[in-house]
Amino acid sequence: MKILGSFLRRPEAGAILSLLAVIAFYVFFGGVHLERLVKAASWVNFAANLGVVAIPVGLLMIGGEIDISIGAMIPAGSMTTAILSGYYGLPIEVGMLGALSIGVLVGLVNGLLAVRTAVPSLIITLGTLVGMQGVVLSGSVLLTGNTSVSLEAPYWAKFMFGQLMGGTHQVIILWWIAFALIFAFVLHKSRFGNWIYAMGGDKKSARNAGIPTERLTIILFILSATSASFVGMCQAILFNSAQVSGGMSYIFNTIVSVVVGGVLLTGGFGSVLGFFIGTLTFAIVSQGIYFTNIDRNWSNLIIGTMLLLAVAMNETFRILALGYPAVKKKEVRA
């Protein structure tokens, strides 16, 4: 009973229950073929691509900000890699460095605007989202005369970033797991993580306590934009080509994933494990539906319902977390 109580108080409780509920739903109502679902690569690949972006976006949301410019940073990353190393034939290292640099640059702009102006980060990153779409499209047309560029990556780059493990599973799955472990360490074990929570809880008090909130905000924005351009880079290397379109679906998919994962929209609450499971849940709903006999057109309805249920659960658990376990012994007042 006590174990259950402390489980429900954790930020990722809602995500874990959502995952179980979705699987149960697919088993009972969808006649899902579980063995095929587990062995399938489609949803794992989908989750990994999404998850690499969702974790830093989740961290940003714990810190009280949001970044939707990632929707443009994924094509920006893949196009930069493809244009530099494919169209101009420069070494792949140059293309990769270019892709990551553009992520750092846009993240820096987002971060600086967020700390220097009073404009909410949703609007700032909406601006850089639309702006970067323009830059990517016109840049691509100007430089290559095309909106799609092919790329031939050398073996080592393919191996590291664009390999299909066992012919089906993208290597980015390993990157996702590595990202999750690193960020979990940072958020839950390091001082830096405590600062992110404090900043999201109350920015003014955090600053008064000596936390460099401005620098922290900028770093978080750089991390989210760069992780998006990293995903774009991996996709270009995997598919041997890049297009200017695409990436927009990532905006809402990341937000749904981290919200299901237990983040509080106003900041100050959430966990990396929650983001990880939230992403997994999202991927199983949207991709796992192909393994059921439910018409796949329904998947968005399921996602919407799941989102609302998960948020309602998370709210309840948060209230629980604020209270104290009733089973705890009553202390005699001194």
Binding site: A198, G201, F269, L322
Partner: protein, 274 residues
Amino acid sequence: MSDTIPVLELRKVDKSFGPIDVLHEISLKVNKGEVLCLLGDNGAGKSTLIMNLCGVQQPTRGDILMDGEKVSFQGPKDAADRGIATVHQFGGTFPLMSIGRSFFVGVEPTKGWGPFKIYDRKRANEIAVKAVQDFGITRIDDGDRLVGGLSGGERQSLAIARAVHFGARVLILDEPTAALGVKQAAHVLRIVNEAKRRGLAVIFITHQVMHAMAVGDHFAVLIRGAVAADFKRGDKTREEITDLMAGGETMADLEANIAGYMETHDGHPPTIVA
């Protein structure tokens, strides 16, 4: 006490925003182990005074002295480094953080080495719980508990214990009892007395005269940005202080007015016309 050097002293401090004078020639001092109660109605300039004391704003004119030496705070961090701690009305400000984590925000204890330095949860929790219990809050015994789950009085106590633990010498309490019930407020007043006993200089800001009289050694009444009265414990009665705060119109007059009205109106109090 007149021969000791005050820990914190204000000399003719003015603060203006453009043409508007919010504070006018404020002179105050507070000694070690003494509670200075700053009384004033809403809008009297209490908040502006606090902001000048804790480094958020700088006075337009006048001097702030610590231990007899002139100081100028560059920001809240600077003031905090010099031992000035401010605890605001709602005390603990990170409701979704654990007691241990919020206690050590910005100065987290770590263990390990290099990039693998990790936050030492066990030590943080132990120190935080001990610091709070030393102030007599024995109900807090688990550092993993979230701050938001504590009562208002407990949060205040936690914030005060935190300030004392990190070496505060001057404790500025901004309306610590305003949002609290009677029992909780009594709790906080006990903590204030404990802080005083430990030799801190306490500036207690309130508009509740009862609470001020329970702990104060020295009182200053602020009216429209100026110190209207400055007196010691026992010099004035509660009624006199309340009258002062209301700006001259005595509470007794007001009560007499209402009583007179009620006599002529079948015992109904006057209706308020906005």
